[in-house]
Symmetry: C2
Subunit: 502 residues, 2 copies
């Protein structure tokens, strides 16, 4: 056991235990060892690193987060002992060997992940073996339930509904329109969403242009009580933290194994106390789900997992072959969503999708008869009721009423024009996302892409295809380079081949 | 691009790029991003961490290692840009999907691993998918060749032989006897070995009790030129560094996939320029290879891989059901090996194994006719020639001549005695290793276990079964606790049941 004096270091490396090299030398502890730090009745798990100068002999450096967890101040004494070998290593190996895991084994894995007892190596081995050997519905159910149980949970005293898109299609700002439509008809819809993971703007990034999104559970309950809806960032309330942990290893590998896709969505909904749910599954060449067959199979899995969790679930397969609407990037998307709510002209695709999803929610929520939800939703949007409700929600979340014209977008911009006459045959989701990100989205909220055309439009040489916005001239220049390289809006001449007389 | 002033920080976290939180906020760079640090014509890859206080705005903290690599001093200016997404992610995913990798793809993975472009997440995904989906001999060959090519390589102007044990059995100090036997007969044997990974003493730890083991390639060549042999630590000369990288993720998962076991051993031998090789494969309940069938299959793989690499390879399956000899722990093992060389009484098992392996080397090296190697080896040992050669080697490596009696072992010790009369039916490799490690081995070189009995011995109640040594009273106490818990030397009464007259 090591007995050391705490020195709090401000560094964002997680679970970091910094010990003087000389102290380590004369001990049974080595860099890389997983240890338990004890202070009074609290303990925390960390990994040893060594230094000759950042900490003196007899000191241990920990980060601010761990200090908060332990409720400890600089100079106080902690006891450090070896952490036991995590129980779940054996279970992870069982999955690596292609076996089905028991409920208790999955619970161990989730628990140890959340307690910080597993590092990136163990978690990656788990995720990789799920990718390769998959999981059956019993395993997925256990994973989902434990993910929800090991984080914040919110209870409601009446029915709450929600809508969730599995993502992949840029410009997908439907929630800003769907949520107020549903809420304005008296259904409770406490919508949580994420920030961009690989996209140019997550729903939370878009809403943040207009109001506060990092609300506490108490604040969320208050906003929903007042307005029936909210649009908040799920990351602020520690919902199903194990899901966020697995995502950190899925992202660099660019994988999203089905069992984790299912548990990730459903664990957060379970934790939020959602009882009826609509899942939007975009289908297209450059999104997660490539065709209707794949989409239907995923939909059936969501519905069957929902049944096990007592969340009534329906799925909507939606068109995902080009961006939704014209705007991509937080401020541009917030503006377009507001325009739609204000009754201004926006692409039909955005209105169709938003009211279509709202319609299903209204039907399963018992507000509209079967087959009449969408029309009701369209009416609510047209009459301005949805706009009024949206303003209530953003004010309740701490923002101010705002009109689409007041929203600022990047002060630097550049147009991309058609190189010849023709028709728009393809708009690449990936290409547009890359350009928007290169321009600075989602961090630079004013950066992004505005499409002047959509697939099928006729263009003449020199017509503006799209405009790139950025708050930085240098980033705009980089985005232009990427745009020239990727050529994401494809124009084709109708006259394919000319055959001359001779 | 970020332009920052270097601040060298003494912390052993690899590839660490510490940037002030405020500088990151106004940039396109985030904690966790993999970036390239450029200084003049040099560059290095690292991962961003953030801090508010350890570095000021405009500064970047890097560790001493990276500073050395870049040849940079405090206060100099570096350029930081995003590292491209590693090429090998796609290849790793291909292996995850169960496909065979091309030579070029394996080369990419090894290269990026060695260049620091892959983190633990990517490397674990690779290792896990090899564990699950395995590799064929073409893939293993490519992996082995590239692992060898990306590190230090040593060439020789005449035949060099080597012997390697895949490990798992405690007390396996055979190399200290085998190497001098072989070298004294004129065969060149530049033996590299590892420190303990999970055992109580690696060959390098044992030899270090007697002489220096961290020799440079030039020093190794000089020692081998003078004496025909050496016993050095492979870790000092950057042989097949990709192997060490994969081991860091294999260890916490407690896996050793066959393709990596094969490539790990053979890459290091290829890099050392070995032309003829004997592999010791211990077989037993508590070692890597459980039975002769498994051992034969592994042996065939080693031989076949050896053919492809132009290393003539033979394998010896050896008895691994109990420790080799009586001593476990660096100093205790060094003493026992010296006793064997000095002609003192040591267990037959140690002499058998050391001379058996030496015999095969002498035969394949052309020094002894087929079937006569072992007898020649035994003679060399008996006549003291091996002892003389061993002294030459340790002196050439920078040590002094020493006798077994001069070797100090732990000043604190405790005897474990037989609880009743009976026969020793089992000695647990794992149990003995755990006790020796708890007592402080291999870090405390004088710690370990000395077995007074071996399997089959008759004991009476109160006879000493084994003695635990340590240089720390506290650790000895802990080791005793573990000993009582594990009961690694099993005694059984011959009289199993007494039936009385009535």
């Amino acid at each position: 056991m090591l007995i050391l004096k705490v020195k709090i270091l401000d560094i964002d490396l997680e679970n970091f235990i910094l010990i003087n090299k000389e102290d380590l030398k004369s001990s049974q502890y080595f860099p890389g060892d997983r240890v338990i730090v004890k202070y009074r009745d609290k303990e925390s798990v960390g990994v040893i690193y060594s230094s000759k100068s950042l900490v003196n002999r007899g000191e241990v450096g920990i980060n601010i987060e761990m200090a908060k967890e332990l409720k400890i101040k600089d100079g106080e004494i902690v006891y450090i002992t070896h952490a036991e070998r995590p129980k779940s290593i054996t279970h992870i190996k069982k999955k690596m060997d292609g076996n089905k895991l028991k409920k208790e084994e999955i619970y161990d894995i989730v628990d140890e992940m959340v307690e910080g007892k597993l590092g990136n190596i163990e978690i990656t081995a788990f995720v990789t073996s799920i990718y390769i050997n998959s999981m059956d519905m019993d395993e997925i159910e256990a994973l989902t339930i434990r993910m929800a149980e090991t984080g914040e949970k919110i209870d409601w005293d009446s029915l709450v509904v929600d809508v969730h898109s599995i993502g992949g299609v840029p410009g997908n700002k439907y929630a800003l329109i769907t949520v107020p439509i549903v809420a304005s008809l008296g259904l409770k819809i406490p919508k949580t969403s994420s920030r961009a993971i690989t996209s140019a703007a997550g729903t939370a990034d878009i809403v943040e242009v207009l109001t506060k999104v990092d609300l506490s559970p108490e604040e969320i309950k208050k906003v929903v009580k007042e307005t029936n809806g909210c649009l908040v960032w799920g990351g602020a309330i520690n919902l199903a933290p194990a899901d966020d942990i697995t995502i950190t290893v899925e992202r660099p590998l660019n994988i999203d194994p089905k069992p984790l896709l299912l548990s990730s969505v459903m664990a957060k909904k379970l934790a939020m106390g959602i009882k009826k749910l609509v899942i939007d599954i975009p289908v297209g060449n450059e999104v997660k789900v490539k065709n209707l067959k794949e989409g239907s199979s995923l939909a059936r899995d969501f519905i069957s997992l929902g049944e096990r969790l007592k969340i009534y679930t329906e799925c909507a397969l939606t068109y995902g072959n080009q961006p939704i609407g014209r705007a991509i990037g937080p401020a541009l998307e917030a503006r377009e969503a507001l325009e739609a709510l204000e009754g201004k002209k926006v692409p039909d695709s955005l209105i169709e999708k938003s009211t279509g999803l709202a319609g299903i929610l209204l039907e399963i929520g018992g507000v509209a008869p079967f087959g009449e939800g969408k029309e009701l939703a369209e009416n609510i949007l047209k009459t301005g009721k949805a706009h009024k409700k949206f303003m209530e929600i953003i004010v309740a979340q701490g923002g101010k009423e705002i009109s689409s014209e007041e929203i600022e977008v990047g002060k630097y911009f550049a147009d991309i024009t058609a190189p010849f006459d023709g028709y728009v045959t393809k708009i690449s989701n990936r290409g547009i996302t890359k350009i928007a990100k290169e321009a600075g989205a989602p961090n630079d909220k004013k950066a992004g892409v505005y499409l002047n055309v959509k697939v099928g439009n006729k263009v003449e040489k020199g017509d503006v295809l799209y405009t790139i916005y950025s708050n930085s001239q240098e980033r705009l220049k980089n985005a232009l380079k990427v745009a020239r390289l990727l050529y994401p809006v494809r124009i084709e001449n109708v006259l394919l081949k000319r055959i001359s007389r001779f």
